[in-house]
Symmetry: C2
DNA sequence: CTATGGTATGCAATGGAATTGCATTTTATT
DNA sequence: AATAAAATGCAATTCCATTGCATACCATAG
């Protein structure tokens, strides 16, 4: 179990420290994207800054991606198998429920290609749909 | 001229105060969406909070829409003729240039309909494409 | 096994921005 | 002109991201 987590980190040349393993474990359990503050709360007394940097490291290394759902605080979710968050065509749609404040990934839904004006060179894209999730209707 | 601006405000039952007319005038001149800080700077010495609340009022009344382009600070742009920012199908695409930091509206590009899972009820959507604009390539 | 250099962590502090309360001014209405 | 409602300006608070620096940890060479 721990070895599996360790593997995930090493794969992306992230040193598997205790903190990082814990954070990864929490992320694995989430069904929706989590903000830094939420992450901090699941940890009890711990250092917010370290969590912040841990998430940043994970993001840099392509382990998680961040979503800006309009709430002000970015949220983080593990990338799925083969997720290539660098390329626009691989980015998926996110859904934000305004009632329960949860942001879920919709990995099966890719962002459709948009015919941009010639002079604009796209690199990434983010599509967040806001509304009510099943539980909150 | 002023009367035209006044009309725009009254149309949406926004009291046409001096401050609001000035803000509206600035917004009309923008070719890209503007952040609160940028707005503040064009004003010289003035009260940030009032500008903040002015933008909020404009947004509530459907005069401007805000875009969260991932820079942390929301940006505001005037809605176009007939823009109905409340409905997903009328929301348009925004382009954010990572070099010059400008966010432009692409009113002619509507966000394509997405086939969401049954249980999700969409209300609005935001699609921000990030990359390089013509000037910055 | 231990010394060493690089990395991660924790604490303190900074900085930027949103947001609210409240007193005062301005506006619309009678 | 008098009044009530709304807008404004100031002060203060809160939240979050981000950085500097000293310490602790880890991997590797010797």
């Amino acid at each position: 179990m721990i070895n599996q987590l360790e593997g995930k980190l090493k794969e992306r040349s992230i040193r598997p420290t205790a903190m990082r393993l814990l954070v990864l474990e929490v992320l694995e359990k989430q069904s929706s994207a989590i903000s830094l503050t939420e992450l901090e709360q699941t940890f009890g007394p711990s250092d917010r800054i370290t969590l912040y940097r841990t998430l940043k490291t994970f993001e840099d290394k392509g382990l998680v991606h961040s979503i800006n759902d309009g709430t002000g605080a970015p949220r983080y979710a593990l990338c799925e198998e083969g997720c290539e968050c660098d390329y626009r065509r691989d980015m998926h749609v996110h859904f934000y429920c305004r009632a329960c404040n949860q942001t879920v990934c919709l990995p099966q839904l890719k962002i459709p290609a948009i015919a941009l004006p010639e002079d604009l060179l796209p690199e990434e894209a983010s599509l967040v749909i806001k509304g009510l999730c099943g539980k909150c209707q």
